[in-house]
């Protein structure tokens, strides 16, 4: 199949049928599924936001003085927007592919492989959207408690940003899902890519590389763009250049990663 056909499958009903299947499973287990994302930001606020706030003073963001907890609030949006689709497309997709043989069953129907991959990408992004929404709700509570000071109406944009970045991240993670020999090998992408990226993307502390190469690489990182976009909106109500940066970096990741994921998944699942 051509690259155009593979990319165009995102609009195909078959991709949405795969997404729907995953959403139905989530809908059955939503009570247990939402507890971790709701608790995680609370723990991070306690550990980073409140724990370190006393040691970090005089933090300014684009000319506005903010407390560290407010800085971390946007970081949590990015952290969740990255981690949720990343782990969903790594572990959950792998379980569906390898252990549950769910993909085998689906591929025995009218659904084609590019649609399975797109369905998983979209589902990873939707899961990211759901969890970012939950984190946003927690931020509302912390704002009302006076722990953080964010522009509350702009929290409504966070799920949309999470969905955009989630597509890029899920497509990237699916490459590993297609190539790892066993689930234990997921530790490599998790610890070599997941953790470093989630920490050096202006999530919990600002990173300002002096090297122009590193600076340029950072602009290509959708997690960094997500963090800065969210922070710009929550602190001053303006994402600045980072909304465009998020869209561009997402496109730069999504297109090649999706094509590679489809190719590698085809080889693994269909033996072609």
């Amino acid at each position: 199949m051509s690259a155009r056909t593979n990319l165009g499958a995102v609009a195909d009903w078959r991709s949405w049928a795969v997404l729907r299947r995953n959403a139905l499973v989530f809908a059955r287990n939503w009570r247990t599924a939402i507890i971790p994302p709701a608790m995680e930001p609370v723990i991070f606020f306690l550990a980073f936001g409140l724990g370190l706030s006393g040691y970090i003073e005089g933090l300014t963001y684009r000319g506005v003085e903010i407390n560290y907890a407010t800085y971390v609030a946007a970081g949590l949006i990015a952290y969740t927007g990255f981690g949720t689709p990343f782990y969903e497309a790594l572990y959950s997709a792998y379980v569906r592919m390898f252990y549950q043989k769910t993909w085998d069953g689906i591929l025995a129907t009218q659904v084609e492989l590019p649609s399975v991959v797109w369905g998983e990408i979209l589902w990873g992004a939707v899961r990211g959207t759901v969890n970012v929404s939950i984190v946003s709700s927690v931020i509302v509570v912390f704002d009302l408690l006076g722990v953080v000071d964010v522009k509350l109406p702009f929290l409504l944009f966070m799920p949309v940003l999470g969905f955009i970045a989630g597509c890029a991240i899920a497509s990237f993670a699916l490459i590993f899902t297609a190539i790892v020999p066993a689930i234990d090998h997921m530790n490599y992408p998790v610890f070599l890519i997941g953790w470093p990226v989630s920490l050096v993307s202006n999530t919990f502390f600002p990173v300002e590389p002096k090297s122009p190469v590193l600076h340029a690489l950072m602009q290509l990182n959708p997690v960094y763009q997500l963090a800065e976009c969210a922070r710009g909106l929550l602190v001053i109500g303006n994402p600045g250049p980072h909304l465009g940066g998020l869209l561009a970096s997402t496109a730069l990741f999504l297109v090649p990663c999706t094509l590679v994921s489809i190719r590698l998944t085809r080889r693994r699942v269909l033996g072609d």
Partner: protein, 289 residues
Amino acid sequence: MVVDHLDLSCRRGTVLGLLGPNGAGKTTTLRMLYGFVPPDEGSIAYAGKPFAENRAEVKRSIGVCTQDDSLDYDFTVAQNLFIYASYFRPRVADLNTRVAELLDRFELAPYADASPHVLSGGFARRLLIARSIVHRPSVLFLDEPTTGLDPSARLDVWELVDGMRAEGLAIVLTTHYMDEAERLSDELLVIHEGRSVAHGEPYRVIDSVLGDHVIIVPRAEPARAEIAAWLDARGAKQVATVLGELRVPVSKEDLAELTVRFTEAKWQVRPPNLDDLFIALARRNGRVE
């Protein structure tokens, strides 16, 4: 090359048995027929429509029951049928009625709201088959549908296959059980090393490859080695040794001469069956010409 110059066809209301030893090319053939991998050469057509040019339409008309358990354990038994139907367009007409009908026919109604985890092997297989026809296909692929089932469950699956054939489905069946292939198949296609070595009605296939009779010379027969040497000299190609017994397909003429020549020897004679064919194919290196 895994499969080479293989021609096969399956008509409505018939079962085509696809046989061959491990590594013969059955799985590759099926994967091409499902559309998982494209053939390097040749073409596949369903009801006269080339697969490659009518992919979506063709896939709507075929049902696939894979050998592996690919049931969706995140859903109940009934939901498995509903969710599977959602992977087809045009949508399945009267889906609620269709699901109820299948649950009833495959005796799955008592488990409709249960997880497939509670199903025995036989009932899980029923659900797999029911799922593969929920969209009312005209062609059904059954890949080793009774592997791992107890004899009673196997017979139940046979009945279901027979019923689906009677309804006009064209069924392509692979199995390692020779009795199953013999009883269920209207036609057999025997594959060896990626090529068709025999094709036709089961008894004709056996005749064409093995001949008229199989003699079984027991291990304790004193003239066993002598008989083997004599048969070898006569050009018997399919000599198989099973637990020390000699099993040799022979023609009517050879059998008559053997009887005259070895008057004191004891052996059994029976008609050849698919087990003989399977063993012969699995143990040979060359093709049957």
